[in-house]
């Protein structure tokens, strides 16, 4: 009986529940094909105005792009530096005590579960528009990511070489030097490069809310409807992100192989490393020059923090309503992206799609969508389809397609062809081949990626409101503009709680999928 009940719950109740959630999500996020079709002519106009891109001020854009890179690199550099000790303190096997472990672990979780745009907004309010809030926001964001990566890597250190070195009777410091560090340096540098890569995009996004670099200029030109200039900046951002992406992928690959800086690589590796140090060196005076601003800002930050206590939860029902809208945006955006990405993933998979032109075009589209921060898409769609959650849904959908389209294609390309042959050998029809050889192989991977993207979209959806694309973010900017800090912190805490909950839920579900 209870078995039947369970089967009933799984076969009937669960799908009904999912469907209901979905319909509700589309409903609260105001998704409508009507609005979309009304927005299409507007988007067409915008695209027309973007062509040809206006590169008149290319020198200025390049120097702003340089600023963005400086912010990204410095933020990543400082964040990684801080994360090194925190990584050891927040790892079960190297933390000196249970309490220290618990403290740093929670600190890392807290840091990671507040969107970087929130830090940027607060910092811009404290020290004014400029590069400094950008660097600090990126730094804090990096600490959240890198400390988690680092501590997990430390926890996963392979014990065997450690025991081998220990058994020779060497000192503890030698054990670390000869068995732990060699394992970690590759992983750490891999993570750091990965974060740097990701941070360049994040820097463009925090720029949009005032934290310096090309993002700020992009926002201004959008506001002035100078779409031809916007197009020029987007092209520059895209190309720079692509180049940095290539370099970082190259360095990551060489560090994994252990051939970075080796003799045969001399021609490229030293210039890359040297370039990084030159960048840090050249921009050092600029960054130091801003320290004054930071010192002057410290009292303001302290004041803001003091003003935040106690948080004002009087408007909670309203916030909860907005939070539902926010989650609805995230779900609707993710589901639309999943549907579109199935098509794009198949078209981009080289083992299925034989026309190279098609796979090439598809991977071009996904690369572009990945290179652009979602808040930029939000800006566009606020203009095209109007203020409100619908713009947010479309923005989330586009940036998610960038990830899912690529991941799906890779999953399809990595199908085991032997299983496909074995199913063909039974005399299966092509449809049956898809159902029994392809889908079972890719589905667990797809679901894993879907959860990852949903998680990411929940984070993103809480801040898209900053540019008017729906959800709770709008309320957050309003309360900050009015210096109503008790309300702002109440909203931030709510965002934190929701992101944390979704994070746990998706980790739990991901474990179930394997």
């Amino acid at each position: 009986m209870s078995n039947h009940l369970r089967a009933f719950a799984k076969k009937v109740l669960l799908p009904v529940f999912c469907l209901a959630t979905l319909i509700y999500a589309f409903n609260v996020s105001a998704f409508s094909f009507g609005a979309l079709s009304k927005g299409l002519p507007m988007m067409g106009d915008m695209l027309l105005e973007m062509t040809p891109p206006n590169f008149t001020f290319w020198r200025r854009y390049l120097s702003l792009m340089w600023e963005t890179i400086v912010i990204g690199v410095w933020g990543t550099f400082l964040g990684t530096l801080i994360s090194l000790p925190i990584g050891f303190l927040a790892a079960t096997n190297t933390s000196p005590s249970k309490w220290i472990y618990a403290f740093f672990k929670s600190l890392v979780t807290l840091t990671r579960s507040i969107p970087e745009l929130v830090y940027a907004l607060i910092l811009v309010a404290a020290v004014g528009i400029g590069n400094l809030p950008g660097i600090i926001a990126i730094m804090i964001h990096t600490v959240g990511l890198a400390s988690k990566f680092f501590s997990e890597a430390i926890e996963n250190v392979d014990r065997k070489p450690v025991e081998a070195v220990s058994s020779t009777g060497s000192l503890f410091i030698h054990v670390i030097r000869h068995s732990i560090l060699p394992q970690l340096t590759t992983l750490f540098s891999g993570y750091t490069l990965f974060i740097l890569d990701h941070n360049i995009r994040v820097t463009v996004a925090v720029g949009i809310v005032g934290a310096g670099g090309i993002g700020l200029e992009l926002f201004r030109r959008m506001r002035q409807f100078q779409y031809d200039q916007v197009a020029a900046m987007i092209i520059i951002i895209f190309l720079v992100v692509l180049v940095i992406d290539r370099i970082s992928a190259y360095v990551r690959q060489e560090t994994i192989k252990g051939t970075f800086l080796s003799r045969q690589n001399r021609r490229w590796d030293w210039p890359i490393l040297g370039g990084l140090f030159v960048l840090l060196g050249v921009s050092l005076p600029n960054v130091f020059g801003q320290l004054g601003g930071l010192l002057r800002g410290l009292p303001v930050i302290a004041e803001i923090i003091l003003n935040m206590i106690p948080p004002d939860f009087s408007e909670t029902p309203k916030y909860l309503g907005l939070m539902v809208e926010t989650l609805g945006m995230a779900i609707a955006g993710t589901v639309l992206a999943v549907l579109a990405s199935i098509v794009i993933g198949i078209l981009a998979a080289r083992n299925i799609m034989r026309f190279r032109l098609v796979t090439w075009a598809m991977s071009g589209v996904t690369t572009f969508l990945r290179a652009m921060p979602d808040i930029l898409f939000a800006l566009f769609f606020v203009v095209a389809v109007g203020l409100g959650p619908f713009a947010g849904v479309v923005a989330l959908m586009l940036s998610s397609i960038g990830f899912l389209g690529k991941f799906y294609a890779e999953a399809i390309e990595n199908i085991d062809p032997r299983v496909v042959e074995a199913i063909d050998a039974t005399g299966a029809h092509p449809l049956q081949r898809i159902g029994h050889a392809v889908v079972p192989q890719v589905l667990p991977l797809f679901n894993n990626y879907n959860l990852y993207v949903l998680d990411r979209n929940v984070r993103a959806s809480t801040v898209l409101g900053i540019v008017g694309a729906g959800g709770i973010g709008f309320e957050l900017t309003i309360s900050m503009r009015m210096y109503n800090w008790p309300q702002a912190i109440a909203i931030i805490l709510l965002i934190f709680a929701v992101i944390l909950a979704v994070d746990y839920l998706s980790t739990y579900l991901r474990k179930k999928i394997v």
Partner: protein, 261 residues
């Protein structure tokens, strides 16, 4: 005696390399045949011409006295339904149950559009399930029906693969080194099972096999492939002489003996 598989002057060219150089062979209904030979001799290529995964460059293959038409997808499906195949690495659909894997053996028998669609999305009839359970019982895995195939042993995986093939009600069962990844004891059990399939179900079995010392115990006919040609066809007892084996395996003979020892 009816011919079940007939190779008529089969040639296969990969690029510039002639991998099969005119193979002529007849395998009769109900036979239990081993194919041996040094690596690269063309064993895999030869048996894959039977179910159309390799298309000969010249010559014809006849299965059950019908010429294999490699260009016709419908015919090919029908042919593959009648010819089961098992592999060295089992090639099961991982992360799904033994039962699901066995049920995929029925896919080739669906020819109405609705049946194809229903089976493609994983719907199988009660009678299919009942039959799958019987076959799992036949291969000795009744109690593993619900187990995920990535959680069972190599020998059990090969049994599931055999069950999948039997589900097709095949007239021929092809096997490409089915025991190469198994320990000696498990290998024997799998060969016993293949023999039982051959005897009790009157299925013609053709298996590529590397372990010559096992060939003698199980097979009364062995075909040796060397450089794309049939180098020997007959009773393995006639191969006992060292020179004969050496001429088949060439330089790899020492290795073969080492395995046997």
């Amino acid at each position: 005696m009816r011919p079940m598989i007939r190779f008529e002057n089969i040639q296969k060219r990969f690029g510039n390399e002639l991998v099969l150089k005119g193979v002529n062979l007849t395998i009769n209904e109900g036979e239990f045949v081993a194919v041996i030979g040094a690596s690269g001799g063309g064993k895999t290529t030869l048996i894959r011409t039977v179910n159309g995964f390799v298309v000969p460059s010249a010559g014809n293959v006849y299965v059950n006295e019908q010429r294999v038409d490699y260009a016709n997808l419908g015919n090919l499906r029908q042919l593959r339904k009648n010819v089961g195949m098992i592999y060295q690495l089992f090639n099961l659909v991982e992360r799904t149950s033994a039962m699901h894997n066995v049920l995929t053996g029925t896919l080739g028998s669906k020819d109405k559009a609705l049946d194809i669609i229903l089976s493609a999305i994983g719907y199988f009839s009660k009678s299919d399930r009942k039959k799958a359970m019987e076959i799992l019982d036949f291969v000795g895995l009744k109690d593993k029906a619900g187990a995920r195939v990535d959680m069972i042993s190599g020998g059990q995986k090969q049994r599931v693969a055999i069950a999948r093939a039997l589900m097709q009600d095949p007239t021929v069962l092809l096997a490409d080194e089915p025991i190469a990844n198994l320990d000696p004891k498990t290998s024997q059990r799998i060969l016993d099972l293949l023999h039982k399939v051959n005897q009790e179900r009157n299925i013609t079995v053709v298996t590529v096999i590397h372990h010559f010392h096992m060939v003698k115990d199980y097979f009364s006919r062995v075909i040796a492939m060397k450089d794309g040609q049939v180098a020997f066809d007959g009773d393995p007892l006639l191969l006992e002489k060292q020179e004969a084996l050496e001429s088949i395996y060439g330089g790899q003979f020492e290795e073969e003996l080492a395995v046997a020892a």
